[in-house]
């Protein structure tokens, strides 16, 4: 509806009478107007409109994912939406890195606008670096750490057997939702499980660290887990709320019979709807970061469409940086929501 208000009889000058358009060296005959200079009545050059439309569609894309998050979270039974499993300091650091890169990218654009090529290159380099650090942290630290963390959900009718690890009486008194999952490092897996190899590796490490060799049970259908602090001391009040600094793993071990287990998985997407949404959203976000980095690299390197464009048409380069920057800010903006909902709340 709103667009109707644009209806007016303003007449603007034909593109060919526009001096900028007419004499740009690459603007040859079959070119489309308003690639660089703004159209007078909208005040926009086309790519800017284009990127905003693209971002609008991105809002709906992430909107779809976030609405799935909301739907699944409010539908989750108490005790089946984990919290406190992600590394908050690292997440905070990554958030800060993205924010810094957002500042530098806007500075890079401003530098270009003021025709300070050196500064532009400098700020852009930092931006790219920030992006790379963000991705590296994600891919080489955060995600792998999850893949080596294990959780078993206990069947409800077997939960009383594992009360010492779950502490549900205590939680009930504290007015908190119950806990059905026991997490930590898997030291022994039931025979035939796809986690056997991983368990063996962990058990060796555990033996090496503690000198204990009791982690592998002779029973064929047991999960043996080196417990996280919450399960090691479930009645400890300090464990009722998540910690900022991750609490080191205990040396306590839990032995869980496979028949008491409802589902067991590493912290991979299949673990729960929590990790499914976490990995899908951060994964898609990561892909956007990667895309942004590639575009920035292109704009930073001395290639035809990149820095070399400065010589012929600095304004065009500035526009490109603005467009890419808008995209980058959006990626930052998504992260601003991702961080609290997955890491903190």
């Amino acid at each position: 509806m709103a667009l109707l208000r644009l209806a007016s009889s303003r007449i603007f000058k034909s593109p060919m009478s526009n001096p900028i358009l007419k004499y740009l060296p690459f603007f040859t005959d079959a070119e489309v107007p308003h690639t660089v200079a703004a159209r007078p009545d909208t005040g926009l050059y086309s790519a800017k409109l284009g990127i905003w439309l693209f971002l609008a569609s991105e809002v709906m894309l992430f909107g779809g994912l976030f609405s799935a998050y909301i739907f699944l979270r409010i539908g989750a039974e108490p005790g089946y939406w984990p919290s406190g499993l992600l590394n908050v300091p690292v997440g905070t650091m990554n958030t800060a890195i993205l924010i810094v890169s957002s500042i530098t990218v806007v500075m890079a654009w401003a530098a270009l606008k003021m025709r300070q090529l050196g500064k532009y290159k400098f700020y852009m380099a930092i931006t790219i670096l920030c992006g790379l650090i963000f991705l590296t942290v994600k891919l080489s630290y955060e995600w792998p750490a999850k893949f080596n963390h294990f959780g078993v959900f206990i069947k409800k009718d077997a939960a009383s057997k594992y009360e010492e690890f779950l502490g549900n009486k205590h939680l009930e008194e504290a007015g908190q939702s119950p806990r059905w999952e026991i997490t930590g490092h898997l030291l022994d897996a039931p025979k035939g499980s796809s986690y056997e190899h991983q368990a063996q590796h962990n058990a060796e490490h555990f033996a090496h660290e503690t000198g204990r060799h009791d982690a592998v049970t002779p029973a064929e259908d047991d999960y043996v887990i080196q417990l996280d602090a919450v399960n090691a001391n479930p009645t400890d009040k300090t464990n009722d709320r998540p910690h900022f600094w991750p609490v080191p793993m205990s040396n306590k071990i839990a032995v869980i019979s496979a028949k008491d287990v409802e589902s067991a998985s590493v912290f991979a997407p299949r673990h729960s709807t929590y990790f499914a949404t976490y990995f899908l959203i951060t994964g898609l976000h990561g892909l956007h970061v990667l895309g942004g980095i590639l575009v920035f690299l292109y704009l930073w390197l001395p290639v035809k469409g990149g820095v070399n464009l400065y010589k012929t048409n600095p304004e065009h380069l500035a526009n490109r940086v603005e467009i890419a920057g808008l995209f980058w800010h959006f990626v930052d903006l998504v992260w601003i929501f991702v961080f609290p909902i997955f890491y903190l709340l």
């Binding site: 509806m1 667009l3 109707l4 644009l6 007016s8 303003r10 007449i11 000058k13 034909s14 060919m16 690459f26 603007f27 040859t28 005959d29 079959a30 070119e31 489309v32 107007p33 308003h34 690639t35 660089v36 926009l44 050059y45 086309s46 790519a47 409109l49 284009g50 990127i51 439309l53 693209f54 609008a56 569609s57 991105e58 709906m60 894309l61 909107g63 779809g64 994912l65 609405s67 799935a68 739907f71 699944l72 989750a76 039974e77 959900f153 991979a268 997407p269 299949r270 729960s272 709807t273 499914a276 949404t277 899908l280 898609l284 292109y298 469409g305 490109r320 467009i323 890419a324 995209f327």
Partner: protein, 605 residues
């Protein structure tokens, strides 16, 4: 994003008068395959889409044979189909299997909607006509336009290839409801090479292509209108494309997100749409941890798919508006009201989606909300149709072939739209949901509705694109044959629906006793479909032969007013051979006191 604004060097034409220094011929590949020219891309989309429409029709012919003659071998081509599609789909003696029926059904729906109508109506006509009608040399982002087509084309190749993966193509309906779609085709053990997974991948490409295209349309319409072409002087077709593009940009992404989710459910074992305690066969499905919601998919799917049905119809209405104005030789009645109506339609279409989910267990409040919005959306539709209808009054109607199709469109869409009304009330939908009444409802809007509009468009703009008229006699044969038999095909569906015949039945209802009294209609419908197909051959013949042999025409064979008729025929690269400027509204036909019965937008006085 950074390359889209790059200069598109080295072609001739342009907003400037012809400049022969730059003139050089493009190679075949650059001109017809990797072209950035909106007209070529429009034709690429159009022809690909028409081919898919025809293919979707062929799939349906096999299904219709099966519905009328359950379990019998498909005549003539049965054996060949067996060889092509394999044993999941066809039995050894050449009859369709139950799984095969579901494959063809799912692919018919998918192909008709996403690979047929949208590519022809939105991308084909939109690409070809919109820049011409707004006086632009090309789309705002020519390279992005090419990328959009190749993204779409990739999705076509993937979707077609899916027929040949083990277990054949997707078989869970075009709606792909999980858990059925989530567990489908996984028995073979191959997570990636199976029908449903490949369907999802193809859809992701298709959606991406659509998004790129529609961003381009919106930008083009906002940025590249010729001097003097103010918003209320836009041809109605441009408005229709503008609103359509918005629907695509904003409604498609949630389905893309949902597509990713279903993909990870299938290949990574997540449980977005998998509830707790799923029992498949006699065992608990341990593959999924559970906790997900099948209904979530339906919300995300219909959030797109409802706006999508307006995506199917709005460009059609746009075409009809052009053809009606041109052939009644008078302005459209209530142009402004139509523009408001189409915006209202676009807006409302985002908040009615759950009328497809009335049977999923909705409480009173939610049901009331979606009923009210659904009923509200019929009002702008009535306004649009009524305006078109009133436009006929007082005209000097020329019954050209495009006009014949446009005239037939009105009552046909009327039947389709009116039968949407009972469906909107969920107490009634209780009875009609998933019956052939629904199938009848939407086929009336998409087949004798949209497809007729597309035919009207093809006959109308064919001379512009090729420089030649299509044969009018063959066109009339095509029209009358199609009109009669398409009604023979779809009208009995309402009767079957009222008698309780449900959709997606492999044997057309032979299992049930209650449907026995109406099963004879299956034969009538199938025969109609067969004859309808024969009449389409007339069209195909006409379409290809007229390219070489049709009557040659000049710039403006229909004495039309809009800018698309103001270019050389066919338009060169860059479109206009003179600077364009617009002085008046789009449909100044039979203006009192003007010497001719049409007054082009670009004519100063």
């Amino acid at each position: 994003m950074s390359t889209i604004a790059t200069a598109d060097v080295g072609h001739h034409g342009g907003t400037a008068p012809h400049d022969d220094h730059h003139h050089h011929e493009l190679g075949f590949l650059q001109k017809w395959v990797f072209s950035t020219d909106h007209k070529v891309i429009g034709l690429q989309y159009g022809v690909t889409g028409l081919a898919f429409l025809f293919f979707g029709f062929l799939l349906m012919l096999v299904m219709r044979w099966q519905l009328a003659n359950p379990g019998q071998a498909v005549p003539v081509v049965g054996e060949a189909l067996r060889t092509i599609f394999g044993q999941t789909v066809m039995t050894d003696n050449g009859a369709l299997t139950a799984a095969g029926y579901n494959v063809f059904g799912a692919m018919h729906g998918t192909i008709m909607v996403f690979f047929g109508i949208v590519p022809v109506a939105v991308a084909g006509f939109g690409n070809y006509v919109v820049p011409l009608q707004i006086g632009a040399p090309d789309m705002a982002f020519p390279k992005l336009n090419m990328a959009s087509f190749w993204c779409f084309f990739t999705s076509c190749v993937i979707m077609m290839a899916s027929f040949f993966v083990p277990g054949s193509a997707a078989k869970s309906g075009w709606t792909a409801y999980p858990p059925l779609a989530g567990i489908a085709d996984l028995e073979g053990g191959n997570l990636w090479l199976n029908g449903q997974t490949v369907w999802l991948i193809a859809m992701v490409f298709n959606i991406t292509g659509s998004l790129l295209g529609s961003i381009n349309f919106i930008t083009t319409i906002i940025q590249l209108r010729a001097p003097g072409l103010t918003w209320m002087r836009l041809p109605f077709f441009v408005w229709a494309q503008f609103v359509t593009a918005f629907l695509l940009v904003l409604a498609f992404p949630p389905l893309e997100a949902a597509g990713f989710m279903q993909l990870t459910d299938r290949v990574l074992g997540t449980s977005f749409f998998m509830p707790t305690g799923l029992v498949v066969g006699q065992t608990v499905a341990q593959t999924w941890a559970g906790g997900g919601s099948p209904i979530l998919w339906q919300h995300l799917f219909w959030f797109l798919a409802h706006p999508e049905v307006y995506v199917l119809i709005l460009p059609g209405i746009g075409i009809i508006a052009e053809v009606v104005a041109n052939n009644t030789r008078k302005p459209l009645y209530g142009y402004k009201a139509m523009v408001y109506a189409i915006f209202a339609l676009g807006f409302l279409s985002f908040i009615v989606w759950a009328h497809h989910m009335y049977m999923t267990g909705m409480g009173a409040k939610v049901a009331a909300f979606f009923q009210v919005t659904t009923v509200m959306i019929s009002v702008p539709s009535v306004v649009l149709l009524t305006a078109l209808l009133l436009s006929l009054w007082g005209g000097a109607i020329r019954f050209t072939v495009p006009m014949l199709f446009a005239t037939a469109f009105l009552p046909m869409f009327g039947i389709g739209g009116l039968t949407g009304i009972p469906l909107a009330f969920n107490a009634v939908d209780l009875f009609l949901h998933d019956t052939y009444y629904v199938i009848g409802h939407f086929h009336y809007v998409v087949a004798p509705g949209t497809i007729f509009a597309l035919f009207a468009g093809v006959y109308h703009w064919y001379p512009k694109a090729t420089g030649r008229q299509m044969n009018q006699f063959l066109g009339k044969v095509h029209f009358w044959g199609s009109l009669v038999f398409i009604n023979g095909l779809f009208f009995p569906m309402f009767l079957q629906g009222m008698a309780g015949v449900h959709r997606r039945w492999y044997d057309g209802g032979a299992t049930y006793e209650l449907t026995a009294p109406v099963l004879h209609w299956n034969k009538v419908m199938t025969v109609s479909a067969g004859i309808l197909a024969l009449f389409q051959l007339v069209f195909i013949f006409n379409f290809f032969t007229s390219w070489r042999t049709g009557k040659k025409v000049g710039r403006n064979p229909w004495d039309a007013t809009t800018l698309d008729w103001d270019t050389p025929t066919p338009p060169p690269h860059g479109n206009f051979d003179k600077p364009v400027e617009v002085f008046r509204g789009p449909y100044e036909y039979s203006v009192p006191g003007h010497p001719t019965d049409f007054h082009p937008q670009s004519q100063k006085s």
